[in-house]
């Protein structure tokens, strides 16, 4: 159980950790990329090979750790029989809805509170309180309110995504460069123009740069929600496997989630690069 939760939680952390690396300047005299790729494959082979051999030799208890070959077979089986796809589809749907609704709410409320000082002061302690609440404890209450269907997972994901977007928008709108505002005003901007040409683009910058984290959290919300109680989804599949001590199943679910999140993250990378194409490349 503890393995499962740490693995799912690792998804956004991994995507967040990747960001500074892409920005860091690397000296030219380093190992070529192709050779590095080879080393990486080698390392994978060594780790998996050792796992397999030690497992077969009985040094590692296969009941708890299974075998890479067995996990591979389980993954393959899920894919060829098509068993996993409806579950994956449900999970992605939940994540997508959570992302859209959470971002929308965060955008609207963040914008409102940033623009209306009274509301900001009024809501400040409540926002802090809800943000301080460990979000996982909301899952049971959402299960009670919304049932075992996708609604409870979406609601759970929304609470994760919302705060990230909300704080970013709040910060983004409030930290709009004074000079940019004054310049636009001098060029004849009305209040509506200021929002359209200056405030909103400035706030969107903050949201785009938190895309990785909010997308990651949307997926975490969906999977953890499913794990705690659902009738479908990858989290549910993992929980089911755990329930019958099917270690292969738990690992296979983790592996599939990992691959899917990697692909989603690649897509987000591309989107981010396109949306923020006006920004200087960090480190350049």
């Amino acid at each position: 159980m503890s393995t499962t939760t740490t693995r799912t939680d690792a998804a956004p952390a991994a995507s967040a950790a990747r960001r500074p690396r892409s920005g860091a300047a690397r000296p030219r005299s380093e190992t070529p990329a192709a050779l590095m790729r080879f080393y990486q494959l080698l390392l994978t082979a060594v780790v998996l090979g050792a796992w397999e051999i030690l497992g077969r030799a009985g040094v590692i208890d296969t009941f708890f750790f299974s075998l890479p070959s067995a996990i591979g077979v389980a993954v393959w089986d899920w894919i060829v029989t098509g068993f996993i796809f409806p579950h994956l589809w449900i999970t992605l749907q939940e994540a997508l809805y959570a992302f859209i609704i959470g971002t929308g709410l965060g955008l609207i409320l963040g914008f409102l509170l940033a623009r209306v000082r009274f509301l900001e002061r009024l809501f400040e302690p409540f926002v802090q309180m809800f943000n301080a609440l460990p979000r996982v404890v909301l899952a049971p209450i959402f299960l009670l309110w919304f049932g075992l269907g996708i609604e409870s997972k979406v609601a759970f994901g929304v609470t994760l995504v919302f705060f990230i977007v909300f704080f970013n928008v709040l910060q983004g709108v409030k930290s709009v460069d004074r000079v940019l505002l004054d310049n636009a005003r001098m060029l004849g901007a009305t209040e509506r123009h200021l929002i359209q040409h200056v405030v909103l683009p400035s706030a969107l910058t903050w949201i785009f740069s938190s895309l990785h984290i909010s997308v990651g959290f949307a997926i975490v919300g969906a999977v953890v929600g499913e794990y705690l109680g659902a009738a479908a989804g990858v989290g549910y599949v993992i929980a089911q496997a755990q329930g019958v001590f099917d270690t292969e199943g738990v690992f296979a679910g983790m592996f599939i989630l990992m691959i899917v999140v990697l692909f989603v993250d690649l897509g987000v990378n591309r989107l981010e690069r396109y949306l923020l194409r006006w920004r200087p490349v960090p480190g350049a």
Partner: protein
Amino acid sequence: MTSTETAHVPAVQLDACTKEFVTPQGGSYFAVKGIDLTVMPGKFVSIVGPTGCGKSTVLNMAAGLMAPSQGEARSFGAPVVGVNRRASYMFQQDALLPWKTVLDNVSLGLIMRGVGKKEAAAEARRWLAKVGLSNFEDRYPHQLSGGMRKRTSIAQAWIVNPDILLMDEPFSALDVQTRQIMENELLDIWQESGKAVIFITHDLDEAIALSDEVVLLSAGPASHVVARYDITLPRPRNLLEIRDDPQFVELHREIWGKLRDEVAKTYAAKAA
């Protein structure tokens, strides 16, 4: 726009303008005190003074970005209430919108005035050609050099055809060579345009070379006008050679004598 009907009305007139700020400790701080400034249409007026003497405050009052605490700011006879619609402002810092291309930045003023997209783009291209940036319309500001960004700012400020140009140390961030080129280009565009310019600089050479009048502010706080100098150097001026002109040298010597005193006061106040 500035034809004979307005030629005798000052484009900008500050009447005994004082700007007072409340400090966080609850006290009050006078940025400028009792400033009188008159800028006629078609005139190029520079304001010089030691750092922290409230030069930008003067400009902001003329722009309507800041209301004077006492006194009155007028533009073409009417009191400045809110943003001065007849003025454009070139800021010391980069004020281009980083998420808009050069073309969109330049056409922004027209778009916000309700000009059609096509028409605004065409006019923006005309201005970009004028400042030598025709091949850069699709670039984003961060992809330009400092000088190119300043050129874009000039096009952005001029495209709306303002009667007044307020320039706050616009070239201070540029290297000396680029700065001289930009000064020359500015004079080329301004010449015969009939626009009033208030130009803030800490560079006395620049002030004398460009202006019809140099206004010297005292050391802050509560800075005021110390002296005014008419610069009668003939126009058009060749900025690359003007610094050797005997009249220029004489003016420089005279104004620098005063400015030096104010700079010394600023340093004395800082040391105290």
